[in-house]
Amino acid sequence: MLEGILIGLTTAFTGTNLLMVIGGCLIGTFIGMLPGLGPMSIIAIMIPVAISIGDPSAALILLAGVYYGAIFGGSTSSILINAPGVASTVATSFDGYPLARQGKAGKALTVAAIASFCGGTIGAILLMIFAPMLASVALLFHSAEYFALMVVGLSAIAAFAGTGQVGKALLMTLLGLIMATVGEGALFNAPRFTMGIMDLQSGFGFITLAMAMFALPEALYLVLDPARSNNEAGGEIKDLRITRDEAKQITPVIGRQSIQGFLIGVLPGAGATIASFLGYAVERNIASKEDQEQFGKGSIKGLAAPEAANNAAATGSFVPLLTLGIPGSGTTAILLGALIALNVTPGPRLMIDEPEVFWAVIVSMYIGNLVLLFLNLPLIPYIAKVLAVPRTFLIPFILFFTLMGAYIGQNNATELLILVGFGICATILRFADYPLAPLLIGFILGQMLEDNFSRSMQLEGGIGFILERPMTMGLLAFAVLLVILPTYRARRARIRAQGIADGD
């Protein structure tokens, strides 16, 4: 492991790569603060830039920096103006905004930054320990197990979607898989489902799809509902310092939530949002009576918990991505797409074949966290000025960046029409409360899923591979169980509830 860290240090500590981290964090914070632009949209916009850099480690470092920066920016806007740019920072606004209203915006930002820093750093240490272990297990897998593992990942994403949403999430995943079969597959050199349209020969562009699924609907919401972007800054930011007593208060909270957040982040489909809400709830429950009163009215514990948890979870979500090549969240799915575009295949072989990419990312996580704490935090009062940009200027620019992101990647104007078309579909899907991340994850995993499926079919000469390999069968059974269980339990609870009502 030490050797790995050294490789990472030598890769990450070159001039360009340091610049990438710092630049990425700043850009991420800057854009993440804007209403309606979450990490997914920002990363999708930055992908063409990252790809044109060419060097996979530099590109991944840049994107990871953007990711942390965006989370940090999101928490800043939820503290200052009670407008979380991202779902994972909603819990931050519970206690962060009241603090800002009391004139303690500076203190709240510092607590959030320290909690994020610790969460991120502890997450990175855990990642360093867990990822190699998981990768060495994953090396034993054959394509049949990979196929089964991806099915488990996809069904877990659907299963964690929430009550009443499992069917919809599953449907979205399948739609993503179906869309992935359009174009020429890797194993069969024949175009499929292109309907004779030349532009579909190479399939749908994943950046186009990512933009259409996330950036465009968010921007359209800002247009549709002006109330979403009302930006009244909540007071002046001054006095960033915290006292020794406060530091003592939040230390155990941060420690617990970093570990819990990381473990939740590793699970596919759970991710930073669940980690932050759960972290907040757990800390409120175990706090002392008088501390409990403070939650929701400006408790620094209530601010530190979700911040530590969501950053640790963001780091944790890199574990399945880097070791199995299976993204657990929308953001890591976009990162996976970027990696594939850079000719890097994440998975257990990544640590062996391209250790400099793997370790550089981990080391850049530390550097990124340091940059956020020591560079971004003091700059926040100035960066926060971006919140004052009127929406009449902001929205055309957001739309323009969405268009540019799709155009630069493909250099094809038809891609822009596809973007607008899918964007409209995605907005309608959001109206009907369909989750969109599963669609994108399904789309990105589709090709790999089919390749592994076909390869195991060819090796074993038929569908029998499922029965012949106990591990494959076990994993597939687990996947089915994951999907059926929440539905079954909800149904039983409902029937029981009805029964009680009848009795009354």
Partner: protein, 162 residues
């Protein structure tokens, strides 16, 4: 029927059309030597279409009731009348126009037009800020993409021959 079930119905249609293509049209063109293969290009789509149709059907029939409740949706489509749909449609139209103009008109012209027209649609009337900002942004981004990233973007209209 709620909007989400209508959408599920549409997806069901897509799955059926997709399944029809996979089951009945794809195998005919398969060369004989590939037919000995245990896996065909249509194998995976066949499986997907069947599972997709089943899941879509279960959503259409509402087999899974929403017991969560209380969760406020991101956006409420019953409040559709309150939303500024006109503006959104106009902006979407602008995006399509941008896509169609980008090649023939060139990057600088179409971007400036897009940014200025977008601001106007949203109700901005401060011309002295709008025009310089749009000009500066399109010039700056063109420079970044073309010179720094090295991706070709035609700056001027096609008849200028660049």
């Amino acid at each position: 029927m709620a909007l989400d079930r209508w959408i599920a119905l549409i997806i069901l249609m897509i799955c059926l059309a997709y399944g029809y293509a996979a089951f009945f049209t794809m195998d005919a063109t398969l060369p004989p030597f590939m037919q000995r293969n245990p896996v065909w290009p249509s194998t995976f789509p066949k499986i997907l279409s069947v599972i997709g149709a089943l899941v879509a059907l279960s959503v259409v029939l509402g087999l899974e009731k929403d017991t969560g409740g209380g969760k406020e949706p991101d956006i409420d489509f019953t409040r559709l009348g309150d939303y500024k749909i006109g503006q959104a449609l106009f902006l979407l139209g602008l995006m399509v126009a941008y896509a169609l103009c980008l090649r023939p008109v060139g990057f600088l012209g179409s971007t400036m037009f897009f940014l200025i027209a977008g601001s106007i649609v949203l109700g901005e009337r401060r011309w002295f800020i709008m025009i310089p900002v749009a000009a500066f942004a399109s010039g700056g981004i063109w420079y970044l993409v073309q010179e720094v990233l090295g991706i070709f973007l035609r700056p001027w209209p096609f008849f200028l021959g660049v």
